[in-house]
Symmetry: C2
Subunit: 144 residues, 2 copies
C-alpha cells in the first residue's frame, strides 16, 4: 500500500447545509447523485448522507455521539491566519470547541466542529514545513 | 481557507498495535511523544490516544460506537490491486466489513476497518484520475 489517502468522506445529515458550510469557508463543490465532491489539493473531500455512508462501509450507525474518533487539521502560515479562519468558520456555523491558543509544541491552534460534528484543528506549527502548494511534511525527528 | 487538508489524526487505544498495523500495510512511521506520524503524500497521517485526542478537540468521548462518521479511501489502479490490498489488510489484523465487489459507478471496491474501527475503502474508480504521484482528481461533472 502506497502511503497516501485518496479521499475522505464526511457523513452528514443535511447535504445542502454541509455544502454551504464548506463553501462559506472558500471551498468549491460539485453535487453528483446526492454526493458533494471538493478537490482538496491531491485528494478529494466528499460529503454524503451519514446513514448511507455507514451502510456502504458495512458498519452500524448509532448517530453522532460526540467525538467520532478522527480529527482533521488544516495548517496555515501564521497565528493571525488561525484566528481569521476560526472566526470565518464560526460565522459560517461552526462551533468552536477549543479557542485558539499557544500549543505545547510552540505553535498556535484552535479547533472547531462543522455542523455535523466533524472536528477540524486550524494550526500554525512552525516545526512542520508547509509548502507553497499546501503540502505538509513531517520533520525527520530522528525517532524510531 | 485554501481547499486542502494538512493532517488526519486517528484516535487509537493501543499506539503500538496501531503503528504495527499501518507498518504491516507498508507505511513508515516515527513515534514522538506518544504520537505516530506517517508522511502520506502531501499530508500527514497521525495516530494518537483516542481519549487525549477527544479532550484536545474539546469534545466528549464515549468510546468507539460502531461507525464514527468518516470514511477514508485509498484509490488504486486496478481491481486486482483492490483484492491484494484488502487481503494484506486482513492479514495485518483488519476486519473486512464489505468484501470487494463491483460498484454502481463502474468501479471495484471493498472496505475494511483498522484495529480501532476506522473505515478504509480500497477503490479502483476508473472515473477519477489517479496520477503517478498518487494525487486523485475529481472529474468535471458539469454539475453545479
Amino acid at each position: 500500500m502506497e502511503p497516501r489517502i485518496s479521499l475522505i468522506t464526511l457523513g452528514v445529515s443535511d447535504l445542502g447545509r454541509a455544502r454551504s458550510f464548506y463553501e462559506a469557508l472558500g471551498w468549491k463543490g460539485q453535487t453528483v447523485e446526492e454526493t458533494v465532491f471538493f478537490q482538496a489539493g491531491g485528494l478529494v473531500l466528499t460529503l454524503w448522507d451519514r446513514g448511507k455512508l455507514a451502510r456502504d462501509c458495512g458498519l452500524e450507525e448509532h448517530g453522532p455521539t460526540g467525538f467520532g474518533g478522527i480529527a482533521l487539521a488544516h495548517n496555515v502560515r501564521s497565528a493571525a491566519e488561525v484566528d481569521e479562519l476560526i472566526e470565518t468558520a464560526r460565522r459560517a456555523g461552526a462551533t468552536v470547541t477549543r479557542p485558539a491558543a499557544t500549543t505545547f509544541y510552540g505553535g498556535y491552534a484552535g479547533v472547531f466542529v462543522d455542523p455535523d460534528g466533524h472536528a477540524w484543528e486550524i494550526a500554525h506549527n512552525p516545526g512542520f514545513h508547509l509548502a507553497a502548494d499546501g503540502s505538509l511534511t513531517v520533520p525527520d525527528f530522528g525517532s524510531p
